[in-house]
Amino acid sequence: MLSTIQTPRWLSHLPSRGHTKSCSLYTLASGQPVTTTSLPAADQSQIFSIRESLLSRHLTAAEVAQSYLSRLKQTEPQIKSFLHVSEPEKVLKQAQEIDKKISRNEEVGPLAGTLVAVKDNICTADMPSTGGSHILEGYRPPFDATAVKRLKDLGAIVVGKTNLDEFGMGSSTEASGFQVTSNPWDLSRVPGGSSGGSAAAVSARQCVVSLGSDTGGSVRQPASFCGVVGLKPTYGRVSRFGLMAYASSLDVIGCFGSSVADTGILLHAISGQDARDATSSKREVPDLISQFISPSSLKSRPLEGLKVGLIRETVDVGVDTGVKTAIQGAAAHLEELGCILREVSLPSFSLGLPAYYILASSESSSNLSRYDGVRYGNQASSDELNSLYEDSRAKGFGPEVKRRILMGTYALSAGYYDAYYKRAQQVRTIIRKSFKAALDENDILISPAAPSAAYRIGEKKNDPLAMYAGDIMTVNVNLAGLPALVLPCGFVEGGAAGLPVGLQMIGAAFDEEKLLKVGHIFEQTLQGYNFVPPIISDVL
């Protein structure tokens, strides 16, 4: 039972985010090698809290792992974030290896002991990777995705594979081929999607951080629904090698954390060029970590002069009043921090949704043709080759995937290409230019992450258009290839403790650094909110 779990001391930091109490930068104890020179305060970052506890010998990695595993075991039956959970013995064994190293005073990676959950459309060599699809049921890739490999190399422990809408196609995780995940804030509601499992897992503290993927908002919208921080990096910042392709020109691997600092540390770990992804950027990855300074060392108006553009079209009709109020509150908070706030109009904004659905479906119709049941995955039994393909696909794919394959095939077909695909590409160019212009005038743009807070399971499942419309806030950012950070900024009514609302901050290409800095200050100075869901705050 939950109450029997002994809460380690450091976990008491968990719910305390958002307080302005002063906390100086930690100097890590006992002469252990420290790779980063300037570290965030431990109570702003679970990753650093864990590192500090390990290096100061206050806790062992095994104890840390055990506390997460216990919570995971307690909460998972209700939330169902995971499609696959590592065997506890394996996780503990990896943690014990870290403890041994520490006891021998050997260097451990900056993510040593950090439990990471990985969206199931990201390949892991030692665990199943299904993409949430029956067609890949039981499939184990022979390699780790580059992002996963980089995390493991830095000492992170993969705790499991999280649920998602099949191949990332959906906005509520209800389109998973296997199970429906619940929102930790209200179990009758969706966690958002498609990275709903990764968002719910961080929200319920079943893991420290998690990886998701974002093709049209799949990291940001669930982050908003679950009250966690979600980061969609610039296209090309993180290698896509090992990410099962949905729409290759839009797909990015993104990060979830319970704080901006954790999210930034995770991004820093997985960023950078990869010889195995020709579209990964050569740009150097800047130091994303040292800016997570303690709020006590902030000036009274730390963001003085920062130009923030609120996208007018995103607080217009069709957006819930509660969401608008929360965003206006967030905007007011940014002004208090010294920002110069103004409204920005992006007239092409509403074109993003149809353009996105045409381009993403078109690419997916091609990318998903590899699933034929022959080389891997589930194979239907058949006496004849063509029917083997057909049956494998008919049985393997769910209705949403089939819908998008059909739409995409149609849009690419001779006679329709110009009317659909080509026009959508033209719209994409217009959107990219309009964002560029707006970001030339402003440091960041802000908007809600979704037009509403989490809705009820089943509410939109049979209304694809309503479901698609929920992506209006996020798809433009993918079309423009820009980075965006979503962090909780308030609540609307619903559930036992209210439902969180996420603020989306959009930055210029490859300027994640600025988003993280602004996001961190916003988060550390926002008062009066507690973004720990009731399901676990009882325990903590």
């Binding site: 990201i122 390949c123 990777s129 993409g131 890949l136 499939y139 890739p141 022979p142 390699f143 995705a145 896509r240 090698f241 090992g242 990410l243 099962m244 392709a245 729409a247 290759s248 020109s249 010889a275 195995r276 992804d277 020709a278 579209t279 078109s362 690419e363 119709s365 091609s366 990318n367 998903l368 043709s369 590899r370 699933y371 034929d372 022959v374 080389r375 891997y376 039994s381 058949s382 006496d383 004849e384 080759l385 083997l388 393909y389 057909e390 696909r393 008919a394 394959i405 059909l406 995409g408 095939t409 690419l412 077909s413 001779a414 290409y417 695909y421």
Partner: protein, 527 residues
């Protein structure tokens, strides 16, 4: 299912590969390539292109009918590039290796794998493009093509047209699939060839006869071998030609319905298949059944020597191209293209012109320039100072005969070009006789060594001292009084007998000119 794209299986026994296209301004070459070469492949013997003119099996009436029509022939060639590794991953490709021994997540099309372009593919494509006088565009984008059974990626120029550069398939190209319909669980797919780079070359419909088409293909084979971009072996499928044939009444401007012919494994089958197809279509036309010529793909059956329907076209295939999102644009600099241009070897046509101006006969020129290795050997021989005509004669005569008998290529013989030059010089300079030269040639071809060493070792230096030769002649004459009497009695043919005996006595080393001169003096010195 809209989507069998990225699949690796192909049901038909032929393969269409990714292709890099080069299109010449007025249309001549639309090229296709497929490549097989790798370390082992490069060592394979390459049969030089040979176009045999088949005996005409058509009856005279057929000829007569065919005379009223003009054939229009275009060829699409796939050339498999001899890059060490595949187009989009680092797997090597070796022809004939065990199934699925040269595969990785990328060429298997595993979920999450991404293609990385092999820069050699671009280099080879540019080489061939320049060699064929194609106009290159410096910026190329990849497009993705969807096809049931296989997917390939095409890299084509954008609307502008004139260029074309390589394209390859990655997760998708498949090659050989064996599918057992009775036992579906046991079918096998060999993915070794998935991702092997092919270049496609498409000609304008400029050819009129089978022999012209076969010659075009042979020249293409020479070019790819001269450039070293492919081994060009048709038997391995490294060079594949699909031909399109249509006919029209002479004088008509519009084209007739074209028929595609596949499964052409040799130049002579190209020739014969086209001639057969022309006759077939001409007969149908002349019988008023021209409407029975439909757009279709036909197979050439080598055994029956005829073409048969393989599949009818059901309208235009819709490949649903769209820009490839996983591969960035390929941008070539002018300096890069210039550096490749300046490194191009002498091409077959240039080589033939040069040989011609050297005074060689057309027959010599064609023979020597046909195989790049033979041409290189010849060039090396003459650049070592050997006489041009003699070099040609030795290579085309005894050396070619030796290679044919031993079934080896010129790269396998032990005689270096420098030693061949030495041999020719030794004969010309009179150190050894031509006869001795021929004798030691075979030893040199099989075992190597130097001409000088062999001459010394075997004491083969020609005897050019008249006194020594005279001595031997005296000996022979004195030993054969009977023959001498007959000779002097008018049977002058016996001169050969005496010459032979003397040569035998000298162990073949006597200078033949001196020998004959002195012998005649002695024989005729009646008195």
């Amino acid at each position: 299912m809209a989507s069998t794209m990225f699949r690796t299986i192909q049901i038909h026994p032929f393969l269409i590969r990714p292709a890099a296209l080069f299109r010449r301004r007025n249309g001549v070459f639309y090229c296709t390539m497929k490549s097989t070469q790798t370390q082992t492949a490069t060592q394979e013997k390459q049969q030089p292109p040979k176009v045999k003119v088949p005996q005409h099996s058509q009856s005279k009436t057929l000829d007569k009918i065919a005379k009223d029509y003009e054939a229009i022939i275009g060829i699409e060639t796939h050339v498999q590039l001899s890059t060490l590794t595949k187009a989009f991953c680092s797997c090597p490709y070796n022809y004939g290796s065990q199934p699925n021994t040269s595969i990785c997540p990328v060429c298997m099309g595993l979920p999450g794998a991404l293609p990385i372009l092999n820069s050699k593919v671009i280099e080879f494509a540019v080489k061939l493009g320049l060699a064929l006088n194609c106009k290159l565009s410096l910026n190329s984008k990849f497009d993705r093509k969807q096809k049931f059974g296989i997917t390939r990626v095409h890299m084509e120029e954008d609307a502008g047209k004139l260029l074309h550069s390589g394209n390859g398939d990655y997760s998708q190209a498949i090659t050989s699939l064996t599918f057992n319909y009775n036992c579906p669980k046991s079918f096998r797919v060999d993915l070794n060839r998935a991702g092997v780079p092919l270049l496609e070359i498409v000609s304008e419909p400029d050819m009129r006869t089978g022999i012209e088409a076969a010659e075009y293909a042979a020249e293409l084979q020479r070019v790819v071998r001269y450039l070293g971009v492919s081994n060009g072996n048709m038997q391995e499928g490294s060079l594949r030609c699909d031909v399109n044939v249509s006919i029209r009444p002479i004088g008509q401007l519009e084209f007739g319905t074209k028929v595609e012919i596949k499964n052409l494994n040799s130049f002579s089958s190209i020739n014969r298949a086209i001639d057969f197809e022309i006759s077939r279509q001409a007969v149908l036309h002349s019988q008023g059944q021209g409407d029975q010529i439909v757009q279709e793909t036909r197979l050439w059956e080598e055994g029956a020597q005829k073409t048969v329907t393989m599949r009818k076209k059901e309208g235009l295939a819709d490949y649903r191209y769209f820009p490839e999102p996983d591969l960035p644009e390929v941008i070539l600099t002018q300096e890069y293209v210039d550096s490749i241009q300046s490194s191009l070897p002498e091409l077959p046509e240039m080589k033939r012109r040069r040989y011609e101006t050297m005074g060689l006969s057309m027959q010599d020129v064609l023979f020597l320039a046909n195989d790049v290795n033979v041409a290189d050997y010849f060039d090396a021989t003459i650049s070592s100072g050997a006489d041009i005509k003699s070099s040609a004669n030795w290579i085309m005569g005894d050396i070619a005969a030796y290679m044919k008998n031993e079934k080896v290529s010129i790269n396998d013989i032990k005689l270096s070009a420098q030693e061949l030059a030495e041999l020719i010089a030794s004969i010309k300079g009179g150190t050894i006789s031509g006869k001795i030269g021929k004798e030691i040639l075979f030893e040199l071809l099989a075992k190597g060594g130097t001409v000088k060493g062999l001459i010394e070792e075997k004491d083969l230096v020609q005897i050019t001292d008249p006194a020594e030769i005279e001595k031997m002649i005296d000996k022979v004459i004195s030993e054969n009084p009977k023959q001498l009497e007959q000779y002097r009695g008018g049977k002058t043919k016996l001169q050969g007998f005496f010459a032979g005996q003397v040569m035998k006595l000298s162990k073949g080393k006597a200078n033949p000119g001196l020998l004959n001169k002195i012998l005649m003096e002695k024989l005729n010195a009646k008195s």
